[in-house]
């Protein structure tokens, strides 16, 4: 009996202690990217100025996405500020899961946000997530290898230029691969890259009636080109390479070119990690000869407030701080301009000091070349460039990604991969009621 009583008492005590007073503490969910970790380290300045304490929940990207979706869908109220991507923002906004950011103060200067970022993070013209940093994709290449090959990389290359350069730089004996691109399956891995290639070849995921278009000749041309590039000039085991694997290869001098996120520029030019830091050049993502759609993607890691938080005002205050012009200045002052989170505000690119950062100009041009509302040559019913902003995409993208990854691994031909992808997407979309 005594045991029972003390159990009840201790449970009650623990419950009281657990639900104790947390007056002004914001819980912020984010990912472990360099810019976010820097924000965490600098956030003492925010607490000092406002008296609002911050609790950080840092999770692996996929766990974070699942965790945050689950919490927001059940109104769990675990997070006051969350880091979401450009894929989630319009979908969640449409469902009423996010607080609109219309109420940000005047001096936040919402019009300073780069137009492409603002478009990608808005729903029906209202901003629902503030870009913390943004990226497009571009070509990073080895200037020394290009010179040795007697070639020059145009600032606006075509896919033919890329294929030619890849062939010229490939040197299997010295373990140098002409090109490194993503092969690992995942809607945010190989499908991001392949979708941009497809866009630039004039392909599209769906026509305006939401019918899958993967059986089109444009898709076959794009995927065959991608596969040939990797088979002929790519690194061994490319079917398992994602962003981090290619970053490693490039930093070790194993790649002539790497087409990937613009944020990678700051990694490959950082002499403490990269053996090729002083011989990297940048160029716009390629287009196909005769078509003017470039293979740029557009992505942002953005801060948003889940509907239903008890601390909307404080959360707004935090977002105002973390995505403001002043924050960029703070980072520059403490860590140098090269470490300022890129791709969110126009004013950053007008700053003469930032213009001296070697990749600043190409990053801006790449972002500006991306248009999430018109991602393809032919019209489409969706927004999003390297993804389709519908809830079904994550599943579709991942499954199709596995088909293409198997193709890169040599298990099937582009024709087979596309036929299976077409069947799979048609089924999924039918089941989803499109």
């Amino acid at each position: 009996m005594r045991l029972g009583k003390s159990l009840v008492a201790s449970t009650a005590l623990a419950l009281i202690a657990a639900s104790g007073a947390y007056a002004q503490t914001l819980t912020i969910a984010t990912v472990n990217n360099g810019d976010m970790i820097r924000m965490q380290a600098l956030s003492g300045a925010f607490t000092e100025a406002t008296g609002i304490n911050l609790e950080w929940v840092i999770l692996e990207e996929n766990i974070l996405r699942q965790r945050v979706t689950q919490d927001i869908a059940t109104s769990g109220g675990q997070f006051d500020v969350m880091t979401i991507g450009m894929y989630e923002a319009p979908i969640w906004a449409e469902r009423g899961w996010l607080v609109s950011l219309d109420d940000l103060p005047e001096d936040y200067d919402i019009d300073d946000i780069l137009p492409a970022m603002r478009a990608g993070l808005s729903h029906e013209g209202t901003l629902y997530a503030a870009p913390f940093y943004g990226e497009s994709s571009m070509v990073m290449y080895r200037t020394d290898l290009m010179e040795a090959a007697g070639l020059e990389m145009p600032e606006e290359p075509t896919w033919d230029d890329i294929a030619e350069a890849a062939a010229a730089m490939t040197d299997r004996d010295n373990n140098i691969n002409g090109i490194c691109i993503r092969g690992r399956a995942g809607w945010g891995e190989n499908m991001a890259f392949i979708t941009t290639v497809a866009n630039s070849f004039g392909a599209r995921w769906f026509n305006e009636d939401w019918e899958a278009q993967l059986d089109s000749p444009e898709w076959l041309e794009a995927v065959t080109f991608y596969n040939d590039l990797l088979q002929n000039y790519g690194p061994p085991g490319a079917a398992n390479n994602g962003f981090n694997e290619n970053l490693t290869l490039f930093q070790q001098g194993r790649c002539g070119m790497w087409i990937d996120a613009t944020v990678a520029a700051s990694f490959v030019t950082n002499p403490s990690d990269s053996t090729v830091a002083d011989s990297v050049g940048f160029a716009l993502a390629p287009n196909k000869d005769g078509l003017d759609k470039r293979a740029n993607w557009l992505w942002a890691w953005a801060l948003a407030i889940p509907a239903g938080t008890q601390q909307e005002e404080a959360a707004m205050e935090f977002i105002n701080w973390a995505t403001s012009k002043d924050y960029l200045e703070l980072v520059a002052e403490r860590e140098g301009w090269a470490n300022v989170p890129p791709g969110s505000r126009s004013s950053l690119y007008e700053n003469p000091e930032y213009a001296e950062v070697p990749f600043a100009d190409m990053t801006l041009r790449s972002i500006n070349a991306a248009d999430p509302n018109n991602p393809t040559v032919d019209p489409v019913p969706y927004v999003g460039i390297q993804f389709v902003a519908i809830p079904e995409w994550a599943g579709i993208g991942t499954q199709v990604g596995q088909e293409f990854s198997a193709m890169v691994a040599g298990q099937q031909t582009p024709e087979q991969a596309l036929a299976r992808a077409q069947a799979l997407v048609t089924d999924e979309m039918e089941a989803a009621g499109y």
């Binding site: 819980t27 929940v57 999770l59 689950q70 675990q78 945010g188 996120a261 990678a264």
Partner: protein
């Protein structure tokens, strides 16, 4: 009958045992080695083994960035709490099933085990909603309860097997000597059951310590244990293997040390009843 074992055969057995042991331990060894490398060395190809500039930089960064002691404390409370709570329920349950079985005891045991056959994610949303309702999200008490419930079938099963090994005649003899239920449990049963109880406790602490589905899904900032601490060091954009290895090493160190010290108990407990 004892078999005669030649020296040759003995050394072969030793060799095989060491090889298997090293193979099993290799991932942990590699994690520990990587935690002393720089990010560039961590992904070097061909890999570097022992001859590199050993650095404590990763540990310094991890210490600076995360509040390790808070994660550790949460892990201790959750793993310890769920095991104690579970034992309070499992010991009487297993006792009654072993010594006063009914016609349905076997069915009940199997039914309890069947709850382990459902993938955890299948009940994620119901449990999440219950947790919201009772304000248990991101609390240690909530996690303690869930982990206790998850491990309970295993605890009961293990204890049941141990208790079954205790001959009923001993208990009868005790009763003949005038022992009541209380004396019977305290002075006869408990001493005989202690090895079994100890290994059940150890195994459950390890299971709860390593549990990474519920601990990640039901916590945010306050109750997050070491599994969340590890998960915070993976990165979609940027190299992270060396720091992740440092974080992992720090997370597994306490349980590894506990395991080493209680090796005898664990091995005895796990092989108990295996040879009949």
């Amino acid at each position: 009958m004892a078999r005669s074992v030649t020296t040759q055969r003995k050394s072969l057995n030793t060799f095989i045992a060491w090889t298997i042991g090293l193979l099993i331990f290799f991932p942990i060894l590699w994690t520990i080695l990587t935690s002393f490398k720089t990010e560039a060395q961590a992904i070097a190809d061909p890999p570097v083994w022992f001859f590199f500039d050993w650095t404590l930089e990763n540990y310094r960064v991890v210490q600076e960035r995360s509040n390790y002691s808070r994660f550790l404390w949460n892990s201790i409370i959750i793993a310890g709490g769920s095991t104690i709570l579970g034992m309070i329920i499992a010991i009487p349950a297993a006792w009654s099933m072993a010594f006063v079985p009914s016609n349905r005891t076997k069915d009940i045991l199997l039914w309890m085990l069947s709850t382990k056959m459902l993938p955890a994610v299948g009940v994620l949303y119901p449990i999440y909603l219950i947790f919201i309702r009772f304000g248990l999200l991101d609390t240690r008490i909530g996690l303690t309860l869930v982990l206790m419930l998850i491990n309970l079938p295993i605890m009961v099963w293990m204890l049941y097997t141990y208790f079954k090994e205790i001959p009923g005649e001993i208990l009868e003899a005790a009763r003949m000597d005038g022992a009541g239920l209380k004396e019977e449990i305290l002075y006869v049963l408990t001493p005989m059951a202690i090895p079994g109880i100890a290994s059940t406790v150890l195994l459950n602490i390890i299971l709860a310590w390593n549990e990474a589905f519920w601990t990640l899904n039901l916590t945010a900032a306050r109750a997050a244990p070491l599994t969340a601490f590890i998960a915070s060091y993976s990165s979609p954009e940027g190299l992270f293997y060396a720091k992740l290895s440092a974080a992992s090493t720090m997370a597994i160190a306490p349980i590894l040390i506990l395991g080493w010290f209680s090796q005898k108990q664990l091995v005895r407990g796990l092989t108990f009843g295996a040879v009949k």
